[in-house]
Each structure stands twice: as structure tokens, then as C-alpha cells.
Amino acid sequence: MPLLSRRDLLASALAVLALTRPARAIHRCAHHARHHRAGGPHPTPRPGVNASKVIPDTELAETPEAIPAFDEVRQVPEVVDGIRCQCGCSSREGYYSLLSCYEGEAMARYCEICQGQGRLAFRLHRAGKSLDEIRAAIEARFG
């Protein structure tokens, strides 16, 4: 059976994707994002914060698509800790910042909004953007 790249499929069927998007398992956080538009201030990065609590790749066997996001967040915990997650999860117990989404139960395993914010933070930080610029970009795209 011929194989087709997922990206090739996307290129040919973005329309279909869009139509079926609501039925796809985007994860409930996407639903939260629509309705909560998670507002509120961004947290102040905690002095000395590190990525020691970010779950390891060995715990991501069921969601390998999330591994790049976790790998990148591990490299910039002090940036990610200054971002309020826009997916609507920020009211849950024990939450401090977007970094919390990558720790413990790590909802970023399933939430593409958490993944997108983490990866975007990494990419913009690497491009030399300030934390405020990164926050603004995340709010614009995910808020």
C-alpha cells in the first residue's frame, strides 16, 4: 500500500481537515480556549526555576508527537515559566505557568495549544525576542 506523508495529505486536504476539525480529538483544552480566552496577567518567572520537573520523553511513548515540544521547553524553562497558558487550564490546582503544563500530569502531552505555546516560546526566544514580545505573540495567536 502506498504511503503518503501526513503533510502531503494536509496539503491536499486542508479543506477536509477544516470541516472535520471540530470532531477531531483536539483535546478539551482547545474547547476551553474558545470559551475562556484565558485572560489575566502572565506570571513572573520564579528565580532559579529549572526543567527538572518536566516529564521525560520516556513518559511520552503514547504521544510521540508531543516530544519536540517537551524537548524544547526543557531548554527554556525560565521563559516558559513567565507565560500564562492560553488554553484555559490556568485555574487548575497547582498551576503556576505554562511550565506547569509540562510537569506532573503534563496536559501538554495531549493539548496542542500547550504544545504550540511551548514551541513558539522556544522559537521566538532563540530568535532573540524578549519575554514581553513572546507573551504578546502567544496572546495574539492563542488568546
Binding site: L4, A11, A136
Partner: protein, 305 residues
């Protein structure tokens, strides 16, 4: 002793019954809720549904012209708006209201929204500060046995809420605040103008079985124009039949979502893909297209224009 024993038995049975059974009640006007969301704004109407039950004339008889009437029964009908809206062009701040109709004359009805949502239908509010009042359109309609609130029309920017009972209906046009706008300043829009070659990034490791043996053409031409204050784009070949023409919805700086329009304006926004244009010396040199999780889907380079 027998009556006392009976009373104890009844009390015991009552206590033993599950709460749901105790609450169960047949009502002449059963409670109902109807809700509609448009562009993130949700309108919810909670009301009781009286039935004609053999009555042929309600307005002017069962509901006298002197009355301020809740379009429902029992507890006043409520309307909740999750964000600011306009109803028939009148601003209605977000919040919950009881809904009333003031009959000024048989053919002249006024819709009243009152902040007190705990009123019984016999407690029609007097005119007071904070109330929203505007003339209601009253239309003749096919006979309706049960009073019904519904949303018979929905678009990307508005919804029609309608109350129908007996032989009349009251349509209400509700417009929401749009989340997105397609208006772009000329100096921002014109720097994107031109033709781009969009190449979808291959990812050999990420493959799924193909439904057909045919491999789609991966590259497409993406032609951007700034027209009438907005940025339009045309794909050739398109992703799919009917998906040739797009409008770019600005997210921030030079980032855009793909959008589609109809005769009323913006009808759909694909916020799960972001086009990130790279602008150098006031002119876009290309763009990346990324998924919600920031995976790179494709890259485009300027090829002309």
C-alpha cells in the same frame, strides 16, 4: 393509632424516595432552554412553554393588552448574553435579563429586558433605570400550539432569535462582536503583495496509509493582493475544489490566519494554521505555515509580483 401509623408510613416512604422522584412534576408549561453560539458569543433563553390547550385566541384575551407579559409562563423568561451584543440594533451589555413584552397597542409591542431575573410572571416590572426597551416587530405566523423560542437563522456574525406562539412571532436580530477583522492598513497589506510558491514540508517519518495511489501535487502558487482594505489570496492549484480564494486575517505583526468570506463578510477563520510572513526592507520575502502546535507545515518563497 391507624392515622398516626399511616402518617409515619407516608413520611418514611417520602424520605426513602430518591430526590429526583420527589421533584418530578408534570407542568402545564414545561421548562426549556435554547442556546446558540456565534463567534464565541452565546445567547441562552430559559423559559416555560405554555400550550394553547384548545384556546384559539391568546393575545388580547388570555394575555390582556393591559398586561406586561413574559413570553413564557411561570417564572419569567430569561435571556443571557455571554458578551455584549446588539438586539435589533439596540446595545445589550453581557449579562442575564428577564424578558417582557409591554403591549402599548394591539399592534405596538415593546420588548423589555430587566436585570431582575427572579420575577414570577405576575410580577412584571415597571419602567426603571437599567431596563432596555425597544419596539418589537410582531409578525403573523403559522399557528403554534406550544410557545417556542428558537434560532432559525445563524450566520458568522449574527443570529435570529424568534419567539412564536398562537399566530404571531417576534423575530429578534442579534449581532455579536466579531473576534476578527479583515481590515488591514495599506502600508501593512501592500508589503505582502506578490506571488509565492508554497512548498509543503515533507516528513517521511510521519506517514499514514494513503487512501488512493495518487500522490497529490505538493506545491501551490499563492498570489496575494491588497484590495479594498483587505489582503486577499488565491491558490493555484487550490487545496481543494472551491477553496481557491482566501482572505488573510491579521493576527499580529505579519502573522495571519486563513479566512473565507461571503456576502456578509468574514464567514470562517482557520485559526489552526498560521501564516508567518518574513518581511525585509518593507517587503515580504516568503512565509511559513504552521499548525496550532507550531509544527511547520510548509514554506513559501516569493516567486514574482
Amino acid at each position: 393509632m391507624a392515622p398516626r401509623r399511616t402518617a409515619v408510613l407516608l413520611a418514611t416512604v417520602a424520605l426513602a424516595l430518591p430526590p429526583a422522584v420527589l421533584r418530578a412534576q408534570v407542568r402545564a408549561s414545561e421548562r426549556a432552554t435554547v442556546s446558540q453560539t456565534v463567534d464565541g458569543t452565546t445567547i441562552t433563553v430559559n423559559y416555560s412553554r405554555p400550550r394553547l390547550r384548545g384556546r384559539t385566541v391568546i393575545f388580547g384575551k388570555q394575555v390582556p393588552w393591559t398586561e406586561i407579559w413574559t413570553p413564557g409562563a411561570d417564572m419569567a423568561t430569561t435571556l443571557a448574553a455571554s458578551k455584549d451584543v446588539t438586539i435589533d440594533g439596540h446595545p445589550v451589555p453581557k449579562g442575564k435579563y428577564s424578558v417582557w413584552v409591554q403591549f402599548d397597542a394591539p399592534a405596538r409591542w415593546t420588548l423589555v429586558l430587566d436585570r431582575d431575573t427572579t420575577l414570577f410572571h405576575t410580577q412584571g416590572p415597571k419602567a426603571r433605570d437599567g431596563q432596555i426597551r425597544f419596539p418589537a416587530r410582531v409578525e403573523q405566523a403559522p399557528p403554534a400550539e406550544v410557545l417556542t423560542w428558537s434560532f432559525p437563522e445563524v450566520t458568522a456574525t449574527r443570529m435570529r432569535l424568534e419567539m412564536a406562539w398562537e399566530k404571531v412571532r417576534i423575530p429578534l436580530e442579534i449581532k455579536v462582536q466579531p473576534t476578527h477583522t479583515i481590515a488591514v492598513a495599506p502600508e501593512i497589506g501592500r508589503r505582502l503583495e506578490g506571488r509565492y510558491l508554497l512548498h509543503m514540508v515533507p516528513d517521511p517519518a510521519d506517514t499514514v496509509p494513503s487512501p488512493t495511489a495518487a500522490r497529490p501535487k505538493a506545491d501551490t502558487t499563492f498570489t496575494v493582493r491588497y484590495v479594498d482594505g483587505h489582503v486577499s489570496a488565491r491558490m493555484d492549484p487550490p487545496f481543494d475544489v472551491g477553496y481557491e480564494d482566501w482572505v488573510l486575517v491579521r493576527v499580529t505583526d505579519d502573522w495571519y490566519f486563513l479566512g473565507r468570506t461571503d456576502r456578509e463578510g468574514l464567514s470562517e477563520v482557520w485559526d489552526f494554521f498560521t501564516l508567518e510572513f518574513d518581511v525585509k526592507d518593507g517587503r515580504a520575502t516568503g512565509f511559513e505555515i504552521r499548525e496550532k502546535n507550531d509544527h511547520l507545515l510548509g514554506t513559501a518563497v516569493r516567486s514574482g509580483g
